[in-house]
């Protein structure tokens, strides 16, 4: 599977001369047998197959030893708070689990990303080899409901034990903003446009 070409979602294969970061990303992807990579805004994302998650991370740590963080993103059309995705029509609903490893001698760092289904998301736990992942996985577990197999202490980290729900899901409402009406709702006059125009000049 290591030489599988970049066909999946986020691969923006470099059209012109690849930047050093892209070369690095391609190299990591190649060597670790990952699915694809993506470099934007100096941030390297390498997509990993979810079954090879633990092995890939462990292997990557020989080169990028610093375990920075682990978290997830909830890609969902249904949102209660803030703003949704830019084009919900083309969105594939999923969880992305991200683990960042970086080097301690230079600026290299890679966000390893794997995609989980929104229903019953389960992934292997990194706690066996990375002790620091324990808290991060517990956080991801309570915030998104992701199960980490092999984690032997998967209890809520921040939330009280009897808390129901996964607060960082986009569909989870923010009570503070639900119970209080927005004071800006009251309207007497529209926003003054004049000032904006001056600013642009």
């Amino acid at each position: 599977m290591s030489d599988q070409p970049d066909t999946d979602q986020a691969a923006e294969s470099p059209t012109s001369e690849p930047t050093p970061l892209e070369v690095f990303a391609a190299d990591v992807t190649e060597r670790l047998g990952c699915l694809s990579y993506d470099v934007e805004f100096d941030t390297v994302r390498v997509f990993v197959d979810k079954d090879k998650w633990v092995d890939t991370i462990n292997e990557a740590r020989t080169e990028l030893p610093f375990f920075s963080w682990l978290s997830a993103i909830d890609w969902s059309k249904d949102y209660e708070v803030g703003e949704g995705v830019a084009d919900p029509d083309s969105l594939e609903e999923r969880f992305e689990v991200i683990c960042r490893l970086s080097s301690v001698t230079n600026g290299d760092g890679v966000n390893f990303v794997t995609v989980l289904p929104r229903e019953n998301p389960t992934i292997g736990s990194l706690t066996e080899s990375i002790g620091g992942a324990e808290w991060h996985e517990r956080e991801a577990h309570e915030m998104f409901g992701i199960m980490f197999e092999g984690h032997n202490n998967l209890i809520p980290l921040y939330l009280p034990d009897d808390f129901i729900g996964n607060p960082l899901l986009k569909s989870f409402p923010l009570i503070a903003r639900e119970v209080k009406p927005w004071p800006g709702e009251v309207d007497v006059e529209g926003l003054p446009e004049t000032d904006d125009e001056e600013d642009e000049s």
């Binding site: 209080k180 800006g184 007497v188």
Partner: protein, 156 residues
């Protein structure tokens, strides 16, 4: 095991020399409330409101991250200056409350105010025994206006 403490205990006594020196020098203490420190001009103490300048545009209330500004107002028609002239409408402020128990003192409201109605004043003595008294209405906010300092001179 712990490192055995090595003789002589020179370090211990050098520290004692330092504390005894501190004891005989004057303590740099400002005896609040008998004497007060003068806050810097940019200090974010309390927000004051120039009621006349406010056009009830709601920008501050909308930009406030904490939703702690409450504004109500109404439109009023103003008699034209000369007969036959256009009838002007003016927005009048009925209510302008800032809840200082919620305020994070970020100053976004002061920054976004396009009509210069809000100012920072470095005054800080407005603690209250009752949390509800921290809701300052527009009269109280107006009182701070006299304490607003000139902006400081800049480094050349």
């Amino acid at each position: 095991m712990s490192k055995r403490i090595a003789f002589p205990f020179l370090g211990l006594f050098r520290g004692m020399g330092m504390t005894i020196r501190a004891m005989v020098t004057k303590a740099p203490v400002t005896m609040y409330p008998d004497e007060k420190e003068i806050p810097v001009p940019r200090a974010r103490g309390v927000i004051s409101l120039d009621e006349d300048a406010c056009t009830v545009c709601m920008l501050c209330a909308r930009e406030c991250p904490d939703w702690c500004i409450y504004i109500e107002g109404h439109k009023e028609e103003k008699e034209p200056a000369k007969p036959g002239g256009r009838i002007k409408t003016k927005n009048l402020l009925d209510r302008f409350d800032i809840d200082y128990s919620l305020c994070m003192y970020c100053g976004i409201c002061v920054e976004v105010c396009p009509f210069d109605a809000l100012f920072w004043s470095p005054e800080y003595e407005y603690s209250e025994p009752q949390i509800s008294d921290l809701l300052h209405n527009k009269d109280k906010l107006g009182e701070w206006l006299v304490t607003v300092p000139e902006p400081p001179a800049l480094e050349a």
